[in-house]
Amino acid sequence: MKSLFPLFLLLSLLTWTACEKDEQVLDKAGDLENVTYNPEAYNLVIPDNFRDMVIPADNQMTIEGVMLGRKLFFDPILSDDNTMACASCHLPSSSFTDDLAVSTGIDGIAGTRSSMSLLDVGFQDKGLFWDGRSTTLEIQALIPVEDPIELHTTWAEAISRIRNHPDYPTDFRKAFGIADRKDITKELAAKALAQFERSLVSSGNSRYDRAIRGEIFLSPSELNGMDMFFDQSSVLPDAECGHCHNQPLFTTNEYLNNGLDYAADLNDFQDKGYGNVTGKKSDNGKFKVPTLRNIALTAPYMHDGRFATLEEVIDHYNSGGQYAENRHPLIVDLQLTEVQKQELISFLHTLTDTTFTNNPNYSNPF
């Protein structure tokens, strides 16, 4: 016991020095208390045919929280060299994807996965990322900042910049009621980012949405495409898409193998996807079914961006895909004609929601 005393002394000394240093940089404790904290509930507007979003009790959305999240999302302050932000790989005009096959971080190193649309991301209930390795938006938001092939900094560095920023301390106070800029943490930054991401909801104004509400009529070719997509016609072939890309979100959020790669053995997949997360061999080569809303705006396609166009995507499905034991049984030779393939594509275009991509509340606030 006695022998611990010097250590204790050293620790107290260190702590004391740390405080000293802080105080030189930052204002006095409680420096934000004179800023009014009176957050206003954010009114999340959701299309009628969607379910309610599940929002964590400890991160209810407020106008101040969403606004702070939006600033952080667009601010390169979260990257090591101040060149990249979340928005660099998640561009509003591309439904929050980038236009690359695989994303490249601040050091110019390409990753192995394609950026994902953040449209309706708040409705995802079976995990985030192509392989589902992250459970909530609050946890997910912590990852890109320190990822060496993304923003490649440390949270300690990012938080120190935010604490010393002329506006952010006040913004954090308004959103979360902290008394002092020293109370700004990466967890609060992640909460704000998550709030902004939950606000990224379909507008309900795509041609598809308006047609099912009876406000407009789809063209005969779009209707044929829709009938094949949902297997609704006794004359046209089933394209089987709707089983996995089910309305209203145009995804079931499941992890499945849609036949992209040949694998004689399930251990042969180069990117094991969902199998890496569950540890089950039968899940190797499975990836998240992504939403098809705004799909015309998010090329290139698939987890590794291997298809440049929707034509290539449809050709893939029409071929029945590559063999692997766990290729989903609905990935079969569809026998669609050239005209039918075009009809399917014209239906996919009815899912374009430019009210969403042009929403001023989602744009760069700086």
Partner: protein, 250 residues
């Protein structure tokens, strides 16, 4: 301050008293119990393990997905008219660790002569899409709903077959049942004594092999690999009827 504390304590006490009273009036705690319904997947005499190989009419077969809805589970007393619903709906899902188990709560104790289970989703619930339910509700799962039918998918059986016995499972198959007509009620006679001091346990065997019996001959999976057409329910109804033989109480 003291006054408030005293008042709060008093109030809490009175409230508790009332709460107990209430309970006694409605469901006396001493006369209800829980009943666990456990479904054990079988393939003939063997335990069924998903993604493992079995023989189907001389071909290798692996099942990758298996689930079905049970609904309107009632316990029946000696007279058939005396029925007690113990469970509205549950999805029995063999792909997750405990997905094959469900517990019915607040079940009145007593002596019962049997039970009835509906396989499927009753028509009133079948009219409500998954978005009307929380994602944690059995009906809140978008992947169990098929828009083209305006119906839940009552049962899913998916897998792949190795028709050449070459360890190549390239004949995928998928049987999805649905629409109101596909609901199937099953009655099981069994004397059950439910007491307050023990959870009742019902262990069911669910034999998938028995499900593929088409009036005496096994379904030709290779020729009928995908069955989800609401306008052609022959195979669907046959599969659903077979739950009668496939499901048994241990």
């Amino acid at each position: 301050m003291k006054k408030i504390t005293l008042f709060a304590v008093l109030f809490a006490f009175v409230a508790t008293q009332y709460a107990c009273k209430d309970d006694d009036d409605i469901v006396p705690a001493s006369t209800t119990t829980e009943v666990a319904l456990n479904f054990n997947a079988k393939y003939g005499a063997d335990d069924l393990v998903l993604n493992s190989t079995y023989d189907y009419e001389g071909s290798g077969v692996k099942f990758s997905n298996l689930n079905f809805y049970i609904s309107n589970v009632v316990l029946v007393k000696a007279s058939d008219t005396d029925q007690t619903e113990i469970l509205e709906i549950a999805l029995i899902d063999f792909t997750t660790a405990d997905g094959n188990k469900v517990v019915a709560r607040n079940v009145p104790t007593g002596t019962y002569s049997g039970l009835k289970i509906n396989i499927g989703v009753p028509s009133d619930l079948n009219r409500l899409p998954p978005t009307d339910f929380a994602t944690t509700h059995p009906l809140g799962n978008d992947s169990q709903y098929w828009s083209a039918w305006d119906s839940y998918i009552f049962a899913k059986i998916e897998g792949a077959m190795d028709t050449l016995n070459a360890q190549i499972y390239d004949h995928g198959f998928l049987y999805h049942s649905g629409t109101d007509a596909a609901n199937k009620e099953i009655s099981i006679n069994r004397n059950l004594e439910l007491t307050a001091d023990a959870t009742g346990v019902l262990e069911f065997d669910f034999d998938l092999k028995a499900l593929f019996n088409m009036n005496g001959t096994p379904l030709n999976i290779k020729d009928n690999p995908i069955v989800h057409d609401p306008n052609n329910l022959t195979i669907t109804l046959n599969l659903m009827n077979n739950f009668n033989n496939a499901l048994s109480l241990q």
